[in-house]
Symmetry: D2
């Protein structure tokens, strides 16, 4: 969730406040342990290992073990970044997979014929043996208030380590597996968020919105107006933390401009007349859940929900950025452009910029995309630039997939490329990353499965006729 800009923006203040609060609140009842791991001595490390071992062996039964885990959690949270790193290293290196147990199970596996009871048992034993002790310890946190969030944040810490050695890498992977099973979509709850939601929750939307920054409470209120919907996924053990959320605008027809949707002064649309739902922002919120995908599940669940609640709405589509476009355009040689665009379109580019080669002309727009806001310039170069965008979606990586990461996500979900919008995002950021161009991906419930199949199996993308026409005008 990298963000540019000055360090005291609205969302960043919200974010800082949340972080500060969290440290105060989590495990507040647990015993403090006097262990500073910033520059740990040998005896500090011994003390830490002893505590970890106590959690693992659970003398006094499981309930005591969990109390001990709370102490451990508190210890971790109150370390500096350096101290946390030391903690993680000890956890990763000294509480890994028990190799003897693995060997023993392997032995049984080999000694017994397949399909025998003993073979089956050995398989299961081997599976159990492959769970590192670190994970056995971390599992204890699930019962603690804030314990699940603690693990999610601990994984974010691991991901943020400057250097990960094989052991911490393995810890990361196993922790991801653990979180994947806990955060399986089936365990999540979809909830609607409205202006009647708790201010404490809404403040988190402000901090977490990753696509189109929320600038103020008035901005947020507009996104929760009567012609909007906002849905988030929650985990039962993290009830105050949205895991992912989507912002939806109801209207008639596809929306082509994000600035229009975010205009606080625009009147609310009468939803009884709405026929289209536009998903204009989808954010994942938890860094520690990196690689665990909620997006597809969230979108499709919301489509299902809207189908039931708003039968008048018959069309579901996104308004999405094209983050890779500028980079790709930049990489195009003049020859390549020649192979993509017909002469007249190349000429238009050159004339509008006074450059002799279309590649040079392109560089002018990439360096000064704000000139595209001028009507006459736009008029002149809209066609070739939209044409190149259409070709961009047609390009493939070596693995046969599209270049654009957002496209890969939606097309894999079974969406189609519905429309390419000129000046869809006229913000500085939008102009810089894609010359202001945005696209709509259409989610048509009936064709999702089929589209997904042809995309996955044949690498084929379903295009709406409008996009096909754009393509046809290119070479």
């Amino acid at each position: 969730m990298a963000r540019n800009g000055n360090s005291t923006s609205f969302f960043e203040r919200a974010w800082e406040r949340l972080s500060r609060n969290w440290k105060e609140v989590a495990f507040s009842g647990a015993k403090g342990m006097n262990l500073d791991l910033q520059k740990p001595t040998k005896s500090d490390i011994t003390a830490l290992k002893k505590h970890l071992t106590a959690c693992l062996e659970a003398p006094g039964g499981e309930v005591s073990a969990r109390a001990r885990a709370a102490d451990l959690g508190r210890l971790y949270l109150h370390q500096t970044a350096k101290g946390r790193e030391e903690f993680l290293k000890v956890l990763a290196r000294d509480f890994g997979v028990r190799r003897e147990a693995v060997q023993s199970a392997l032995g049984k596996l080999e000694d017994n014929p397949e399909d025998s009871q003993a073979h089956y048992l050995a398989e299961r034993e081997l599976k159990a043996a492959l769970t590192p002790d670190s994970i056995r310890i971390l599992r204890l946190f699930n019962s603690l208030p804030n314990g699940v969030k603690f693990l999610v944040d601990m994984r974010a810490d691991i991901l943020a380590l400057e250097e990960r050695d094989p052991a911490t890498e393995a810890l990361n992977a196993h922790l991801k597996d653990l979180l994947s099973s806990w955060f399986d979509p089936g365990f999540l709850d979809l909830e609607r968020i409205t202006w009647k939601s708790s201010a404490a929750l809404l403040e988190k939307l402000i901090a977490y919105e990753a696509v189109h920054e929320i600038r103020s409470w008035d901005d947020l209120r507009n996104r929760l107006d009567s012609d909007r919907r906002c849905y988030a996924l929650f985990h039962p053990r993290m009830p105050e933390e949205p895991l992912a959320f989507v912002e939806v605008a109801l209207g008639d027809g596809l929306a082509g401009s994000i600035q229009h949707l975010l205009d606080e002064a625009a009147p609310a649309f009468d939803t009884s007349r709405a026929d289209t739902a536009i998903f204009y922002s989808i954010s994942n919120t938890q860094k520690g859940l990196q690689g665990i995908a909620f997006g597809e599940y969230l979108i499709k669940l919301v489509v299902q929900r809207l189908q039931t609640e708003m039968p008048q709405v018959r069309r579901y589509a996104t308004l999405s950025p094209v983050p890779g476009l500028s980079g790709w355009l930049k990489s195009l040689s003049d020859e390549r452009i020649g192979a993509l665009l017909p002469t007249d379109q190349r000429k238009a580019l050159c004339e509008a910029t006074g450059k002799g080669k279309s590649a040079e002309a392109l560089q002018v727009f990439l360096a000064h995309p704000e000139t595209l806001l001028q009507d006459d310039v736009a008029e002149a170069v809209k066609e070739p630039l939209l044409g190149l965008t259409a070709r961009y979606f047609h390009e493939k990586r070596q693995d046969g997939q599209p270049l654009d990461p957002v496209a890969r996500f939606h097309l894999r979900n079974g969406a189609r490329l519905e429309r390419i919008n000129w000046l869809g995002d006229s913000s500085t950021r939008g102009l810089r990353q894609s010359l202001g161009i945005m696209v709509n991906y259409g989610y048509r419930p009936d064709e999702l499965e089929k589209n997904h199949e042809v995309y996955v199996n044949e690498g084929r993308i379903v295009l709406a006729s409008e996009v096909k026409s754009l393509l046809k005008k290119t070479k």
Copy 2:
């Protein structure tokens, strides 16, 4: 939860009604598939495999896969017992661990040095490969309404199979692992149940109570009166199904008679004067969660809750049956009794029955325990019988643990043996299984951890002084 008695008792009617309802309600929206597995043809089996494969491969993405799972669930529920068995066999045999994937991971494991990144990765890959396909399919059920309960009941079906082959045994084990991770205590919610709880929920207590059968709504109401507490554990995805529940009576001093506690006519105790909480019934409710233990967690959580909410209560103890006592007494030879009891006590037994040998005298009481309800008989033989009971708890199995299963559970939790109660349970069942004797296990928060340790490590049981005196009077 085996129960004796005639087939139309109060709880059984509740139970039947629940089962009937369930089949009607679960997956009610899913498509029916016309597949009768009672006597499956080859093409039936092929169709089933095809459906299972479709769930596994998830064409159309995860959301579609889950819809397919609902169809599968409906198919399963509407089979006969025989049909379900066929289904389970196909699932177990044809959707097991993929051996090639295991071999491939094993190869990498061996080819790479320990502590190398590649070795770590291979470990994780091997672990993943050891998950059978059946489990990958069943996991899809977690997102379905009633899906988790469906899996729990499916495991109950597996456990009820007359004959399990290695494959179904392996399926059972893997399904248990899956359910263990889902039903980890940390994910469960403890909730108090009162007379203000939903009748639909209370009806389940009636059906599920496994220790002291609930005979009527009035009986239940008495157990939820102002001097009682009832707590249950719930899983977020089975919100209407208590997983385990405990019934607690508040009073002053240890309770020694279950009939007194279940007496509907007895007035409610003024809880502001209560100093003791008696846990007089603990039930697990889900057959499909066999082997996944909630009891310790439940009791200790309730103790913690009561410590906070009722600081005037300072003592926590159970009133528990001694299910193995009669069996053990039956097995005693006259010589053995001679080694356990002093002469006068043996003599008392003989005189009360007119038998010449104390072993024979014992058999009389075991055959006609109701005679112990007579005051004069009780007077005469109370001492030797309580003495033998104290000895019973002192006896060990080959593995060094106590003979009594209930004792093993509580002592392992860190409880102590607090008191042995004459005529604690004067019901037919109580007289038959333990000559009416019940015991209290004391849960003293401060000593739980220590007691657990000495029990586990040294096999030592902590006895209250009263029990020690009983022991001393024996040989």
Copy 3:
């Protein structure tokens, strides 16, 4: 809510338990005052008056006054019936309307011209002066937990006084006015009651059901099955007390037999195919709200609710008793019957009983209505008896209204007489009060207003064609 029968029926046990609980719970925090009014001395009365005056004058502000009211409430609740009567007499006689204040306001009223400010003010002052002090005191109870219920029950006590003098009569009337304004339908909440409702609430249905006694929890469960609806009205300050409730059965077509609806063994009707909602029991629960009507409001609110939630249901009707029928039949002279029924019908009556006169024949059935359960008897006399019933509804009291109280209620609401059902209620009670005959009143949303008007203004009853045919066959 008079009930016949032995004193330990199911509902009566529920009722007694509720009453006992209530006295223990209400005002439990308030100070006890040592005042026994069973045989009050002069100084007891003085003490009581002093306490009442303190509530009225509210030294220390309103919050203190309310604390004092709680003491007063506790004092009242712990008196015997005789003590309560003394309390009520003091309240009624010594805390009435202040006559001087009335005179003063009357003076101003006369001294000032109508439509002058002073006249308006005098009117309002007079209105205020006409509120007795007793009511000013009782109003304080609204803020106390259980305070509103306390007043409702106090009014029930007043209504139950053996003898009411003018002062207690006036207190009753003013208290009714107060409760009428507090229990205005607009302040009530309609809530659906299901098997998932609290057992504590369901127990109240058992105690309060006034029309068709609930015999067991199984009976209740059947009335809350998937093809049933139950709705109740609640007051925000009495959230655990239903004020009135209605039981509804969903099915296809009019239901004609109450025994069929209450048959626990009958399978549930598939509500997606239901086209009719039958209101088969409507109960008011609070004796102290006598004369304050919720019935019409409840029925019409439920009709509105069902119209929204179950659009497939297009017909709303009651299945109602005819409590006045047997009494009326008993009063018929032979001449009167001659004027009502044609010869062949009279003859049928005589033949079936062996009596010479139809009036005598009627007396036979009234004395032994159970003979109507025999098929051949029923066959013979069904026509004349249904005919007489149709005439019964046609008869008017002196004030122009129908004889039957239940009919007056529904017809005033705008319902029509839909059908007369032979053996609608074959219970002893049903046979005795109306020879087993029940009727359906139809609530057709479109015609309620019109029917109400013609009923109120012209005394005209709307009859369905089926009833008209019955009438035509009479003279």
Copy 4:
């Protein structure tokens, strides 16, 4: 709730948005009636009267009447201010008290002896007759969603009429009576408001805060921090509208400066160490409930709640403005000051301003109160100004009550004057209205009743010793 300042402040935007929303939402389902009362014709007035009469006479029963009321409400809401005035005039003049009914009841009253049944009945009949028809109509609104809020706002409209004739004045008075009975404290719910409350509700706090304007969401958040409490009263039929709310700060010792409390940068106080609760802002929110007092009830309820929840807090006091101080100081003649202050204090005032007379010196500070922010000036004149303030509280109006309206409120409630704070409110507003001086009123639970009594009966104010010392230093 008069506010100064420019028209687009933070709270005003919130306020405008709320008003706009309300008109859109209320009675949204009701039929529109085409009646524009801006310049009503005779037939418009006739149509209006007809509609009002229809509500009153309720053809079709009460349920229909309420539907008609919704139409009426919608009609009213969509009128201009002028149109609403016309509506109110018709309602007030043509739907007043029915004089014939009053006369008839008066006749019966006179004709019957006191204490006779007939006399009692006549009293009650007269009382009923004194309810104007307008109120009978308006009562129907209680059942409509938003209906109660509608009436509250309608009364606000009446109060805002430029000119009220006797009829609208009477309507106002009767409507106040109706609302007084509906908004009786006993029917209100006290709820805590936190940062977890709904944003829609919090936005209302922003709009409604009447004492110390909320400047931003961050300001609000600070007022809801962990060392703060905020409680509001709600009516069950206006669940989203706080009627009155109080803001409380927890700390150690009396707070003397409002700026300190509102400082967003100040760290939160550890509430486990708090011994004092400061009520620093109490706002009534509904203009239409003018004259119906919630303040005392709210404060005392919150004190009770805090006594239970935070036993460590032992002191309850306000931090209150002194709105009448500057006005009173302005009115002081030099002689009067001579009679109040000793020579040295008067001299200090003169020297600090270079004026010859202390009255002139006072005018300097009243004209330029910001000079008091300078330390040396403050040092010089603090004593005489605090002294005059102490005397201000000692002054009485003709009716024997204190001059200050805020003082009258708290002292009547039984509070004592605890402390006078120099520079308690250094804002422009605070300096202008009271030279920055604020006071604490202490609410000591034990003495509230007694203080109330001596205040009401003897006009005596209880002063803390600190205030007494100040007084002693004056003459």
